[in-house]
């Protein structure tokens, strides 16, 4: 593992508590020695093991719980901001923990994309991620992805180069969402505009629909802001007519924005950091939108035309 510049994304494989601690030890110890910002996240048990092994060292942020891992692009955005801040302080960010794939196929696919995106999204930063996978419980398809997405394999026996790693761009191509209507689109749109000229009427229409359905105000406003940014982008770069549709099944919400241009060349637009430390200048609107909704998907219609869909799964008000 390099202590110099750049992003390092490695894989830790373990089959017991003892192996997790033995394999993770060096990563954390190196970070402490280098004065990095070290974060150990994940389940109570795993974080507890590492915390005990380091005697609750105050130089390590032990962070149990799923707080940092609610939504994949939210997690990436958080790391980008954290890296941005630490870069200014001259520090590397180091994170060790699991990826919350879950049982649900959609959630699993999304976190697989997360693994494939890390090298790209955090590429401009001094970031080291060590993702740990329990060999006893990880499903085969997830393990295949894990092996394809990481540079080195770390075990209790040491570090070795991962010879099954695939080029990031190839992996992302394979994981790009296919153009397909969402089940929520089976129901007719509850609101829509077939030829948008400006984002404001769309904000007002969507806001009203969410308010009528008693969606929590802050969640609704985040969704409205995400849609507004996507739409501004489509109006600026896409080709008219730009259409917006809002669908719901009473629980989840889906907003689909389409245009009639050639489509977007890169379905991962909005993943790269628009913050100052990234020397590549990229837009901020889609990047923000990706973090303000539960899932944002960019696809291209077989006959042309970009399609951006945004999902909101409101949680019940507490």
């Amino acid at each position: 593992m390099s202590a110099g510049s750049g992003c390092v994304h490695d894989l830790l494989l373990f089959g017991s508590d003892a192996e997790l601690v033995a394999a993770g030890w060096g990563f954390i110890a190196d970070g402490i020695a280098a004065g990095d910002l070290v974060i150990a996240h994940g389940g109570e048990h795993e974080v507890g093991l590492l915390r005990d092994a380091f005697d609750d060292d105050p130089r390590v942020v032990f962070s149990p719980g799923k707080e940092r891992y609610q939504q994949m692009m939210g997690t990436i955005g958080q790391y980008q901001r954290l890296c941005e801040r630490e870069t200014a302080a001259g520090r590397r960010v180091r994170a060790i923990g699991p990826v919350p794939f879950g049982e649900d196929p959609a959630s699993r696919a999304e976190w697989m994309r997360y693994e494939a995106l890390i090298s790209r999204a955090l590429g401009p930063y001094r970031f080291s991620g060590l993702c740990h996978y329990d060999t006893r419980t990880t499903p085969a398809e997830v393990m295949d992805l894990a092996l394809a997405a990481h540079q080195n394999v770390v075990t209790a026996d040491g570090v070795r180069r991962n010879d099954r790693q695939r080029p990031g761009s190839e992996l992302l191509r394979a994981l790009a969402p296919a153009y397909a209507p969402d089940a929520l689109e089976d129901a007719p749109a509850v609101w829509g505009e077939s030829d948008c000229a400006a984002p404001a009427p769309v904000r007002h229409g969507v806001r009203r629909a969410l308010r009528d359905a008693r969606v929590d105000g802050d969640q609704a406003e985040g969704f409205v802001a995400a849609i507004s940014e996507v739409l501004s982008n489509a109006l600026q770069h896409g080709q008219s007519p730009v259409q917006v549709r809002l669908h719901t099944n009473g629980r989840g919400w889906l907003c689909v924005v389409t245009d009639h241009g050639p489509g977007m060349a890169d379905p991962w637009t909005g993943v790269d950091s628009p913050l100052p430390a990234n020397p590549q200048p990229v837009g901020m609107g889609l990047w923000l939108a990706r973090q303000l909704c539960d899932q944002l998907t960019i696809t291209t219609h077989p006959t042309g035309g970009a399609r951006i869909s945004l999902r909101l799964s409101p949680t019940q008000p507490r």
Binding site: R81, A225, M284
Partner: protein
Amino acid sequence: MCKGEGVKGGERMEHLRDGLEDVSPSAWDGHHLLIAGVQEARPAMAAWAEAGLRRGEKMIYAADARHPSVERLVASLATSGVDVAPAADEGQLAVVDTARFYSTAGYEQLVAEALGRGYRGVRSYGGPHAAADVLGPAEFEEFERMLERMWTTRAVTAVCCYEPMMVAGAGELDQAVGRHSSGWSGHLVHAYRMDVGRLCLAGEIDVSNDDLLAAVLAAATRSAGAELIVDCGELGYMSVSGWRAALSATRPFRERGGRVRLVALTTTTARVLQMIGCAEAFELEPSS
């Protein structure tokens, strides 16, 4: 065609109508710039007229193509749901020909007469479009300066309605904003100065009006001391482009050591500001 096309005028100015009920009446006091097409300006003007009548003020309109006479003004306001016919009968509401309205002596006389009749205040409505018939650009500029004095010395409120195309040229928006010290409204947004160094922002900012926000903030920082306070409690939406505009418009001020304090941002607005990494440029305060 957009589904909302038919109601766009109403929708665009929706917050202005609400704004008068929600925020203090001072939001429309003073020498105020309104950037809007004739149709768009309607709901705002209706709300403005209602507020003036309610407060017992004399309302003076410069005659223009839309309301060349008081009868036409009454009819126009009626389409916005405001009945000003009784007030017009009593003379509280008047349409004045442009030659009289747009001369310093004529205007001052109108104000003196109204106050002499016991009205609690005077508010007038005009703009460069109507003035163009009787004043050249330099004379209009001078007239605007006189309105500015009338506000500061005699508390006369004047709303000047500029068509968007009149401020589309380079620097024109900054000039128009600079001529009016009290407040500035446009498509979706209503901003007004509560005090020296204290600005109130209401409505929504996006790509369609972030240039107005930039002009307003630049003007506000020029007249502020060490600190500019921006009350954002009524700011319902701010796009990334809006934050970028706010950053660059306040940059010279901040680089001189000035502080920009944002008060009462909504949860989502504050969250977006933090997410895009611009929160450090400002001082944030939950509410005043």
